[in-house]
């Protein structure tokens, strides 16, 4: 465990001492911020219109503001993941430090988990910073807290699976660009397959729907916690970590 933490600490430091972490988090905040602003403006217009019609019940902030925002964020995340994970293994492979790690008294799992948690840490920080937007809503509105927390839990669980996917693809190549493009293709595939589900017929339709990473998030965005989605995200995370292990192990044999 100490070794996992040592690797984790080094990688996190390297992300935060280089511009990478700040560029990624800044870009993410900017994009989600714009969407938040646009959604808030239209939400205010709706509530203003509703007020003019003398409706006494205020509009539901959770349903009309937070849910679409979370769904939106979930898609933006798909674009951010490649930037977070592209360096993870590729950088070490390229600079030869992988040789140092693999000839040190560490197990492959310690290396993989250390690197996974480091990239995941960057992801978690990035997600949690958007919680600032929610604080504004809580100050000037009365949303329910639980659905918001469940929505964020969903983002964190989905992120774990995607970060693990990115780590796996990064472990396949020593070229960061290839890693980023490959991960991007992976996240897009897991998103777009959901659209295909509608046209794929009775057999493949539900299957495509099931592997679509975004469809599992929809319940979370409503504030519904369903263990089947939890199982999906957690198993995908483990599957990807297992693939990473195989990749690291086989790269030794290939030399």
């Amino acid at each position: 465990m100490g070794n996992v933490y040592t690797i984790f600490k080094r990688d996190v430091r390297s992300y935060f001492s280089s511009p990478i972490a700040y560029v990624v988090i800044g870009l993410f905040l900017a994009v989600t911020g714009i969407f938040f602003y646009l959604m808030l403006t239209s939400f205010l217009q709706y509530s203003y219109a509703a007020m003019m019609q003398r409706q006494n019940v205020p509009l539901n902030v959770n349903l009309m503001m937070i849910r679409p925002f979370l769904l939106n964020t979930c898609v933006i995340v798909l674009f951010m993941i490649p930037m977070i994970t592209m360096r993870s293994f590729s950088e070490d492979k390229k600079s030869g430090t992988m040789e140092l790690l693999l000839t040190s008294p560490l197990t492959n799992w310690q290396i993989i988990l250390g690197k996974f948690f480091a990239t995941y840490f960057l992801y978690v920080v990035m997600i949690l910073v958007t919680f600032l937007f929610m604080i504004f809503l809580f100050i000037w509105g009365k949303p329910q807290l639980m659905p918001v927390l469940i929505g964020y839990l969903g983002l964190l669980l989905m992120g774990a699976a995607l970060v693990a996917l990115g780590n796996f693809i990064s472990s396949l190549t020593e070229n960061q660009i290839v890693a980023a493009v490959g991960t991007f293709a992976g996240t897009m595939f897991l998103w777009v397959i959901g659209f295909a589900a509608d046209f794929a017929g009775k057999i493949f339709g539900p299957f495509f729907g099931y592997i679509s990473i975004v469809q599992h998030f929809e319940d979370f965005s409503k504030g519904v916690f369903d263990t089947s989605h939890l199982v999906f995200y957690v198993s995908l995370t483990f599957l990807m970590l297992f693939c990473t292990y195989q990749s690291v192990e086989s790269s030794k044999w290939r030399g």
Partner: protein, 315 residues
């Protein structure tokens, strides 16, 4: 300390390492000599547990590299061909990190880092970022990393590459001084380095061991005959006849010089006979001028070339 038995490594259909066996005793410095792509790096990578062998075994301090990899890795300090450095870290942070993953106790990490920094004289760059260092300093930081946690075995892949002549001498001295407490395997294609630092040499070519001995024995063994270089002033034909008549002379080769009546002669003689006295006496007796005489032993360089080219002829 290190035992390599029938080591084979394939890359696809290429046999990078082909049935190599050798042992290294405690405290020895073993030089690994061979042309580029001879299988030096591959062999070292297998010993350090970076990659597994296709077949054969390696044991370090009694532990099998494949089955007890972690135990072996604890006992090896490894300097790969390109020093494995994180460019974005400060030297001191990098060394602390490596010390931590090598299992140095938390409380003694700083002591250990300063010990190796002292040894490699990189004290003055500890606070610098690695990306800002010169090639020589990078190499030394890589070397320092290998010394962390004081491993009993050091595996150094071309440790003097990229250093200036002064640093090369320093590193060689350092390697020699390490031999007292460490067992060292170093690879190089620089020949004088081997004769200067190593107690034993393994010459490999095309993945096979072509020779293994001490540098001195290697030189002696390969001297099939002794050759003497002479420069004599006198009628060339007469001199040649006289030289060939001398007992134990096998052959005489002539290299005329620009000055008339003067030539260089390379005289090959049977091993174990010193014919210099006899040659000198004969030349003087005939009234010729003996301008120069020296034995030309084979240098390690020539031996190396002979061994590695002989191999090609067989193929």
């Amino acid at each position: 300390m290190i035992e390599v038995k029938n080591l084979v490594k394939h890359y696809g259909s290429v046999r990078a390492v082909d049935d190599i066996s050798f042992t290294v005793e405690k405290g020895e410095i073993l030089g690994f000599l061979g042309p580029n792509a001879a299988g030096k790096t591959t062999t070292m990578r297998i010993i350090t547990g970076f990659m597994p062998a296709s077949s054969g075994t390696v044991t370090v301090a009694g532990f099998d590299v494949f089955d007890q990899g972690i135990e072996v890795k604890k006992r090896i300090g490894y300097l790969p061909e390109n020093p494995p450095l994180y460019a974005d870290m400060r030297v001191v942070d990098y060394l602390r990190f490596v010390a931590a993953i090598k299992g140095v106790d938390k409380n003694t990490i700083d002591v250990e880092v300063h010990r190796v920094a002292e040894r490699m004289s990189i004290n003055d760059v500890l606070e610098k970022h690695i990306s800002k260092l010169s090639k020589g300093y990078k190499q030394r930081v890589g070397f320092a990393q290998a010394l962390l946690n004081n491993p009993p075995v050091l595996v150094l892949d071309e440790p003097t590459v990229g250093l200036d002549p002064k640093q090369i001498i320093e590193v060689r001295e350092l390697i020699k001084s390490l031999a007292h407490e460490h067992t060292v395997i170093l690879s190089t294609h620089i020949l004088p380095e081997v004769s200067m630092t190593c107690s034993r040499v393994v010459i490999i070519n095309d993945g096979k061991v072509v020779a293994m001995d001490t540098p001195d024995n290697l030189t002696a063994r390969l001297k099939g005959s002794e050759s003497i270089l002479l420069e004599v002033e006198g009628a060339i034909q007469d001199v040649q006849n006289e030289l060939e008549k001398t007992p134990n002379v096998l052959s005489v080769a002539i290299q005329p010089l620009a000055i008339p009546e003067t030539a260089q002669y390379v005289v090959e003689s049977t091993v174990g006979f010193d014919i210099r006295k006899e040659l000198a006496a004969r030349i003087v007796k005939n009234g010729w001028g003996l301008l120069e005489m020296k034995t030309s032993g084979l240098s390690l360089e020539e031996i190396f070339l002979r061994l590695t080219t002989k191999e090609e002829e067989v193929n």
